[in-house]
Amino acid sequence: MKKIKWFSMMMIGGLVLSACAAPATPPSTPTVTPTAGPVTLMVMTHDSFAAGEAVIAEFERQNNVKLSFLKSGDAGAVVNRAILSKDTPLADVLYGVDNAFLSRALDAGIFEQYNSPQLAAISSEFKLDPQNRALPVDFGDVCINYDKAYFDQKKLQVPQSLEDLEKPEYKGLLVVENPATSSPGLAFLLATVAHFGQQGYLDYWKALRSNDVAVVNGWEIAYYTNFSGSSGKGAQPMVVSYNTSPAAEVVFATQPIDSSPTASINGPDTCFRQIEFVGILKGTHQRALAEKFIDYMLDVSFQQDMPLQMYVYPVNPKAGLPEVFQKYAQLPSQPARLDPDQIAKNRDAWIQAWNGVVLK
């Protein structure tokens, strides 16, 4: 008998607890009702978005607003979710669409035009949308990282070009991500398309395949279980990651170290430049606040906060770079680029063809 009482008490206790627990999550402030107290500006973004407490708090204080973030998967997934929900937009601002998905977002008409005054300072190489519906915020390069210790011990030369990777001495040493499921994987595929052209890139991948390139589905697995230079101590000493990853390895070392265990290969066309954009979502009821937030993202204080939060480079030339970036991260002088329209038209076909050559 006692047993049942215990059980019913647990159930009741659970109910009471959960009833108390629920309000612990903050009261909702619907975006549409600008009543007393701060309004909420909803920002839809990808899972890797990060920002300092200080810069967020400053914007909230200046504008008497509460910033709320909706994280919706990787860069591609965010854009697709925004497109699927465009009739009843989930947010006021979308940050995180990159040049690989830019045209899809623009064609779907999810953004409103905004000619931010901050744009004047930003180099035209980043402004890929002449109508300013999507405004550049930051950039970075997807590059191959290598395990320095491995190449030292084997007295092996570090490859300097995409072509080098076909050589027999690098057989089985590279892991890449599946372009269908990973944003750096797609970027690397685009780099090979940019370098070898639409005619030649599949032959290159055939050569990589016979040179035992390893393919996995996500960056986390590639970096932490396959790459030998990370803490996972995997099998391959080369991985498709970012040009800033070596700097992150220094910042996130357990004991202070003065050189990174990894470095990135910055040869011609071995890296692919990713530019990330922000835009005001069509149908927002907070247009004025959304504009202010975009101005703020492009201004110096936010731009200087970004590098150590997301390991990307600011587009605003007035923003200074942190010391670890200057010491341990290098910007490739000749990254591969492709026209966003061309990417939008062919991306799915390229991925399908790649799939046939590399995985089948």
Binding site: G14, P30, S72, S85, I221, Y224, T254, Q255
Partner: protein, 567 residues
Amino acid sequence: MSLAGVSEPSSRNSSSNRALWLWLIPLIFLAVFFFYPLAAVFRMAGSISLVKAGQTSAWGQVAQPLAFTLWQAVLSTGLTLLLGLPAAFIFARFSFPLKNLLRVLVTLPFILPTVVVAVGFNALLGPHGLVNSTLMSAFNLQEAPLKVMNTLAAILLAHIFYNTSVVIRVVGSSWTQLDPRLEQAGRVLGASPWRVLSEVTLPLLLPAILAATLLVFLFDFTSFGVILLLGGPRFATLEVAIYTQALEMLNLPLAGLLSAVQLGCTLLMVVIYTRLSSKQAVPLMPRLQGEGTRKTGGRLETMLVFGMVAVLFILLISPLVALVLRSVTILAAGQGAAHGPAISLDYYHELFVNRRQSFFYVPPIQAVKNSLQYALLTVVISLSMGLLVIYALRPQRRLNRSLDAFIMLPLGTSAVTLGLGYLLVFNRPPLDVRTFPWLIPIAHSLVALPFVVRALQPTLCSIPQSLRQAAAVLGASSLRVWYEVDLPILTRAALVSAIFAFTISLGEFGATSFLARPEYPTLPVAIYRYLSQPGELNYGQALAMSTILLLVCSLCIFLIEKISREG
């Protein structure tokens, strides 16, 4: 075996009509939180012209993942049963040292995020893992002899790792309540142990075995993370294909078609299950708990028990141990460091520091709190719904069989599809994905409900009507009959259900990442966040956070079991 129908009360019709009312709340719940969002996705997928999907033959793109999905699910389920049934047997029939601890430990794999499992498997079976390096040094090999990662073997191993506890819990709880005198009678009458097993024990356990098989099969059938991360890009289940088509390719018609096929298959399997199990329920006098357990006698039994424990340890527990060990090990820093790996709690200390002054930093205590809140709510919601459902299901009628299938559907539904549906329909107050915190435990409850129902139903069916009639004859009101007859017998099964609901919620990542506000992440979400950036500290903190998840979960399961045993 025809005892089942005999003891139905004469007032059958009125009581079964009353049972119809019990459906009301569960069906409203399913309609609002399952069918409505699902319909929205299908409507949207249907509204887009199928021409895009039709570029190549759409069926070709469905057939291939469908065939692989079925093939790996059959294999995985078979292997899981092969390990789970003997394990359930030793848990039900023998007492051995540290049994309670082992029972908690084998449940833990269930809650681990796939990324972390990949890390654990890699630490054991990877090219530089423990097994390979031992073999390489023992036999002086140049290359790693075992290549498991990114193969079908990795998928099967991971499915066994995740789902064996389902078999142990569901079948084990029935086995414990089985009257040992039936088996003893068989032995006394001269049957061999094998004959007793095949003609007495297994037929009596069949409802529980079928229920466990269905649950494991559906889990394997809709497998996502395991295929994506451990199987690698050469393998795709329907679930993986839906994810790629919906979120990466934006090919909604094809994603909708794949989802429909997946749902259809789920429905088919549930129907087969109901067919098979409808005739099997035999009411039996419930026994005292632990009555049938005994110490091992004889060398054969001792070997059996310890062999089984060893296998469980190798397959289910060693990856966990590898994780925990790695979370307290700091590898030598930099190149040419003089000292080897050191034991340290640095990763744990670091969890409490917001080094980047990040807006999204979560103190570990807060992540634990978020996770526990969601898990508790899930237990309460799914258990209350589950109790209503099993009583509603009791009268044998055709309608009930189809409704039973509806309850199981969420388990066979793509999380991506449902998540999209939530975004499409719950976008204004009061039900708003952005602000309504209950949607997460509700989504978890949808997945937990099939478990709760399958764990409770065989037990309810096994309660002999004569017990209730006796109580009623002695003057007990129907409420009192329920309280004093049904409830005590159901408690053990309810406990199993509670543990399932709790662990499902604690480990769930897909729906949570879809619906959670980033300021209130659960433990798995926090773990993913660490693993999405390079650097040793991030890696270490992810493992430390996983260890905390394991600890919190074991503590809670231990508490639930202790309360029920001693209460």
